[in-house]
Every structure is written in structure tokens, then in C-alpha cells.
Subunit: 145 residues, 2 copies
DNA sequence: GAAAGTTGAAATAAAGATAATTACAACTTT
DNA sequence: AAAGTTGTAATTATCTTTATTTCAACTTTC
């Protein structure tokens, strides 16, 4: 079980938009080349990031741009934007517990609060880093190569 | 994307073993009946819990028993036992980032530490509740019905 | 305004992961 | 010996994720 690669892909994409944005038009083809991800999938991710107000793209002209300052975009914003986790939550229950069984009909409620707390802990951690840090670290690594 | 239901299933199973253990032989069939999960899958989960030293089962005789005190089993122990998350970690990277691209060949390293921290936050939260609490809450809910 | 290049989006296919099912040998108890 | 159970392997089904194909709508440039 893994959180879908769309999340890390989105971070990769945003880093590229910032780092290459000055030098070239960062099209879905360019991003596909850097990430190894199919260009249509890249466009889907960009679409979700656009809906979330994180990037700007336009039909025809080509080239994505950040819609916010790097330090105003957290990893959590990206994670939310690409829908890593739906409304059901990160944890999954089996659909058919037996309502005849006293444990079966209560276990969900007993667990819910605790699982939400665990998910919140993960998400809070993601809120604590911004793209600014990620890009700064990436630039540093590139310089040190 | 969701953490596989084997985790919540395992918690359900363990709660049943404790709550019904006094009254009946808790076989994989009984557990299948309460959870709605196929009996073979239940046996697989029990096998993983046994390997982790959480339950005891024996061929032939039938009926699972807890191998530890309820307050010595945390949700994290169960989560680990059933292999919700493999060695690759909770977050998933696309396999083929372009090594020619300076971002492509560095982004993984940049993100790793932060993603591990997020995963650790989730796991620490799971460490903070024991089966004793889950079972106590379940019994309370049953009594209040 | 035509050509070239791009985005947005839908539909379909491929690949991978999760859960269910079938089948049966090994084991315990009665 | 019979009945019931576990452990395990093999297969199938279902669902999710990712890739691919296709094309209309849009911008820019010539």
C-alpha cells in the first residue's frame, strides 16, 4: 500500500516549474521528460494544481507558472490538491461487518477517532514544510554536484 | 488511495478474540462471520499476527488466543504485523525520473527525510493507543446499546 | 488567416494491488 | 476413524493507478 505517486510527482513538477521557469517554457512535455510521467498525466496533475490555485496554465500558450509564492505552498496543500486521500479517510474498513455481531456493529465508531488522529498527525507534518524549503534544498544539491 | 483494510480487519479480529474468547472457540469461520471477510483471508491475517507474536493459533484444535496482554499491544504493532506499509515507505515515487534532469536526479533525496517524518508522525500516533483501550471502548458501546 | 504547438478532456487499455475463492494436506480432538 | 480446523498454494475477480490514444479549443507566430 502506498500513497499514489501523483503526490511526489506534483512536488517534482512544481520544483521544475520554479527552477526552469526562468530559462524556458515549462510545458507538459518538458515536465513529462523530467519526471518520466506520461504527458497527459502531467496535464491532469497540473489541472488539479490549477483548481487548487497553486499553478496557472493556459490553453494554447503553454508553460505553467506558479500562482503563489513558494513559501505559501505547503506539502499538505499539494497533497490535498491531487486528492491523495478521499473523504473516506486514509484508513480503510471492510464494507460488510456483520450488524448481528456486537463487535461488528461498533468497531468502526470505536476506531474512527483514533484513525483520524493518526491521519491528522501525518497531515500536520506535511503542513510544516513549504515548497520554498524543498526548492532551496534541491538547488543546493544541484550546486554541490 | 487507502491503507488496506487488513489493518482495521486485524483490529476487529483481535477485539473479537478478546471479547468472545471466554464464551466460545473463536475460529476463522466465526471471525469471518463477524468481519464479513473471507475465512481464508482471516487465516492469513491471523498467520501474520502469530508471526508477530500477537496471537496463538494451532492447526487442528481451532480457536485463536491472544499471546500478550491487551495493554501490551498497540495499534502500531498490529499495523506492522499485517504489513500495511512495505520497506519502500508510505509514499510512492515514480520509478523513472530522468537522470539527465538536475531536478529529476535530486528530488528523491530532497523529499525522503520529510516523507519519512510524516510517516513517523502517523506511526507514533498509532503507538499511543493500545488494544486495551479499543476493547474497553467497544465493551462500553455494547453495554450502552 | 494558416500553421505549428499547446492545453483540456474523454475514452480506452494496460499494469498492479487487494480481496475472494477453490482446493487440499496437516493436524487435533472426540 | 470421523469431524472439524488450520496453513498454504494457486487461481480468479475486482478495483485502483497509470499510460495511451484521440481530438477539439486555444495562442502565438509567421
Amino acid at each position: 500500500m502506498q500513497i499514489k505517486s501523483k503526490f511526489t510527482a506534483a512536488v517534482h513538477i512544481l520544483a521544475c516549474i520554479d527552477i526552469f521557469g526562468g530559462q524556458m517554457r515549462v510545458t507538459s512535455d518538458v515536465l513529462s521528460g523530467s519526471t518520466g510521467i506520461n504527458a497527459v498525466i502531467v496535464r491532469n496533475v497540473l489541472g488539479q494544481l490549477r483548481t487548487a490555485g497553486i499553478v496557472e496554465t493556459r490553453q494554447g500558450s503553454g508553460g505553467a507558472h506558479l500562482a503563489k509564492a513558494l513559501d505559501e505552498i505547503t506539502l499538505y496543500d499539494i497533497y490535498k490538491a491531487v486528492d491523495c486521500v478521499d473523504d473516506e479517510g486514509l484508513f480503510h474498513f471492510h464494507e460488510n461487518p456483520n450488524a448481528e455481531c456486537p463487535v461488528g456493529r461498533n468497531i468502526h465508531r470505536v476506531m474512527d477517532g483514533r484513525l483520524e488522529a493518526a491521519q491528522a498527525a501525518l497531515e500536520n507534518e506535511l503542513k510544516s514544510t513549504t515548497l520554498a524549503e524543498v526548492v532551496a534544498d534541491t538547488r543546493k544539491m544541484i550546486d554541490e554536484e
